[in-house]
Subunit: 346 residues, 2 copies
C-alpha cells in the first residue's frame, strides 16, 4: 500500500485544517521521536487543504510554520513554501501521498468536499483515515467496495467517541459474539449541556463552552438535534453490527425538548437525563434510536458525565462490556487518527 | 503459521480441561456455524490434556462426548476414542496441531505444566493462546523471544480481566500515548467478596459463591492474597507499558486485613474499599502496587461492583479511558481465547 521510498516514511495529506487536524499536527510535532522509536515511522505531512485552497510540498511541510500561518487567520493555500492548489480535491487527485486524512466539517447534504477526496484517494489505491463521519454515513458500503477493489483501506476509529476505541473493540475484540444491544452516549457537547443544565446553568453558556473548546460540531445543530449521535450509531451499525444501515433507519430526537425542570425532577429521583443512542436486536434485525432518556445516576451511563462519552455492549459470550472516555478537547480525536495511521502502515 | 491442509481448518490442542476450557468447548459447540460464516474458520479440537493425562485424535474430538466424559468425573485420557498420551507435555511435543491453548491451573512456583507445554509449542513454530497467567509472569521475555525465533505468536488477551480487551486496547489502540498511570480492579473473586461483606455477608459464603461459579482460582489464596491481581499487573506492565517487570517489582497486599467494620465505615462516608492495582509513572519507570484502597462510591472504580472487573488508563493524548466487564462465569474468559484464536489465524 505504501508508495514511499523507504517503508518507514509515511506521506500524509490532511483534508480540512480545523481543530482536529491542528491538534493532529501538534501531536506530530511533540511525538516524532517517540513514533520513530516505538513504531519505526516518520510521518511527513506533504499536503493540506482547507476551505480556501490547498498546498503541497514533496519534502514535507513545516508543521510549526503551518500552524502559525493558520492561526494568524490565513488559508493554508497562501503558505509561502510549497505548491498552491485550487482546492482539497485537487490535492487528493494529484498529490503524491500514502495516506489521506479527512477531518473537514461534517456535511450531511452531499458529504463534500470530504466524500470526493476520500473517493479519489481510494480510487488511486491510497488508504484513508477519517475523523469526518459524513462520507461513511452517506456512502459506507460503496466506499468499502471501492477500497477493496483498489487494495486500499479505510480506517475511522476517530469517528465514534474520539479516542475511545469503540469501533476497534466492536470489530476486533468481540470475536464470535452476538451483540443483543448497544447503548451509548456519543456526543460530548450535548452531554456537557445536559450535565450543566442539571446544575442550573443555562443552555447557551454551556454550548458556548463546548464551542470554545473545539468540541462542538461546526454546525452545532448537528449536536443538539441528535444527528451527530445518529451518525455515530450508523457507523457502529455498519462496522460492528454488520447491519447495512442509513440515517433513515434511526429514530432521532435531540435535546431541545429537555428543560431545566425535567432535569431537576430527574435529579431529585436519583436519575439523570442523557442523550442515549440505542441499537437493539429484534429477531434478525436491529432497531435504532437516539433520544433523551432517564438513567439511574449510579448506573454506568449515569456516570458518563460532562465531557465524557461512553458505550455499553450487551453481548452473549462477552457478557456486558462498558467503556468511556473523558475528552476535554479534540486531542484524543486527533490521537485516534494517529492510531489509525500507525495501524494501517504496520 | 498454520500447518493445516486447508487454511480454514484450525487444529487446536487444549492444555487443562477445567472451567475455562469446558466453557470454550461449549462456545465452539454453539458457535461453529457462526464462526464458519463470519470468519471462514473451522476450529477442530484434536487434543486435550488434563492432570490425568491426554488424548489426541487427528480427525478432531467430539466435544459433546468429551464434555460429558469429563463431567462424569473422568480424566480426558480415558476417552474411548483417540490416542491416549501420558501427559499434556507429550501432547504439546508430539501432537500435530496449529495452535496450543493453555488454561491449566496457575502455578507460580515453576509454571508447570503450562510453561513446558507453551515452550514446546513455540519451539515447534506453533502459536499459543494463554488464559493461564503463570507462564507470562514467570518468563515473559524469554517466551516472546522463543516465539519470534520460531515465527510463532503468543496471544493472551484472556489473562487480564477475562473478556475485557485490556491488553489489546493498551497494545493496539493507545498508539503513541504516554501512559501516566493505570488503576484497575482485576480480580472478581475479591471484588465480589468485598462487595458482599460491605452489605453484611460473611467472607466464607462469598468465597464459596465465587468457587461455585468457577471464577475463583483453583488455589483461592491467589485471589485473596492479591497475587492474581499482581500477576495481571505484571502482564500489563510487560505487554502494554513496555516495562520489563516481575512479581518482585510489585508491592502486594491482599484483602485479609479488610474487616466488616472498615467496609461499613467506608460506606458511611460514601466510599467503597476495593483491591486496586496501580502502575504509576515516576520519571522513566513505573511503581507497581496492589492493595486495598478506599475509592468514592460514585467514581468509575467505585462503580466496578460484584462480578465486575475494570481498568482506567490515564494517558496524555487519549486523556482518560475507562473500561469494565460484568462477568458472572468463565464464559467471557473462554470467549477471549476464541478472540485470540481467530485473530492469530486471520
Amino acid at each position: 500500500m505504501l508508495q514511499s521510498p523507504t517503508k518507514n516514511v509515511v506521506r500524509l495529506i490532511l483534508i480540512g485544517f480545523g481543530s482536529v487536524h491542528q491538534h493532529f499536527a501538534r501531536i506530530l510535532l511533540d511525538k516524532a521521536p517517540l513514533l520513530r522509536r516505538r513504531y519505526a515511522r516518520d510521518l511527513l505531512v506533504v499536503g493540506v487543504g482547507d476551505s480556501g485552497g490547498a498546498v503541497y510540498q514533496t519534502e514535507g511541510l513545516d508543521l510549526a510554520t503551518l500552524l502559525a500561518h493558520k492561526q494568524a487567520g490565513n488559508s493554508v493555500c497562501t503558505l509561502p513554501h510549497g505548491v498552491a492548489m485550487a482546492d482539497a480535491l485537487s490535492l487528493a487527485r494529484s498529490g503524491d501521498y500514502d495516506l489521506l486524512l479527512e477531518a473537514s466539517p461534517v456535511n450531511l447534504n452531499d458529504g463534500e468536499p470530504a466524500l470526493g477526496c476520500v473517493r479519489s484517494a481510494l480510487a488511486r489505491g491510497r488508504s484513508a483515515v477519517l475523523a469526518n463521519k459524513a462520507p461513511l454515513v452517506l456512502d459506507y458500503e460503496a466506499l468499502h467496495d471501492l477500497a477493496q477493489r483498489n487494495q486500499a483501506k479505510l480506517a475511522f476509529s476517530a469517528t465514534v467517541c474520539g479516542g475511545l476505541p469503540v469501533v476497534n473493540v466492536g470489530e476486533r475484540d468481540l470475536v464470535g459474539a452476538t451483540i443483543h444491544k448497544i447503548e451509548g452516549i456519543f456526543n460530548s457537547t450535548t452531554n456537557y449541556i445536559l450535565s450543566r443544565m442539571a446544575t442550573g446553568e443555562d443552555y447557551e453558556s454551556a454550548l458556548a463552552e463546548a464551542q470554545r473548546r473545539g468540541l462542538a460540531e461546526t454546525d452545532p445543530s448537528l449536536d443538539v438535534d441528535g444527528w451527530d449521535t445518529a451518525n455515530k450509531l450508523v457507523i457502529i451499525a455498519n462496522a460492528v453490527l454488520g447491519a447495512s444501515t442509513t440515517l433513515a433507519d434511526v429514530t432521532v430526537e435531540g435535546i431541545s425538548g429537555v428543560g431545566s425542570k425535567q432535569l431537576a425532577g430527574a435529579k431529585a429521583n436519583g436519575r439523570r437525563i442523557k442523550l442515549v443512542a440505542t441499537a437493539e436486536q429484534q429477531g434478525e434485525r436491529y432497531r435504532f434510536a437516539v433520544r433523551p432518556r432517564q438513567v439511574p445516576a449510579d448506573s454506568f451511563l449515569g456516570g458518563v458525565v460532562d465531557w465524557q462519552m461512553g458505550i455499553v455492549f450487551h453481548t452473549d459470550i462477552y457478557e456486558e462490556i462498558s467503556m468511556k472516555v473523558d475528552e476535554r478537547d479534540p486531542t484524543a480525536t486527533a490521537a485516534a487518527m494517529l492510531r489509525d495511521v500507525i495501524t494501517l502502515t504496520r
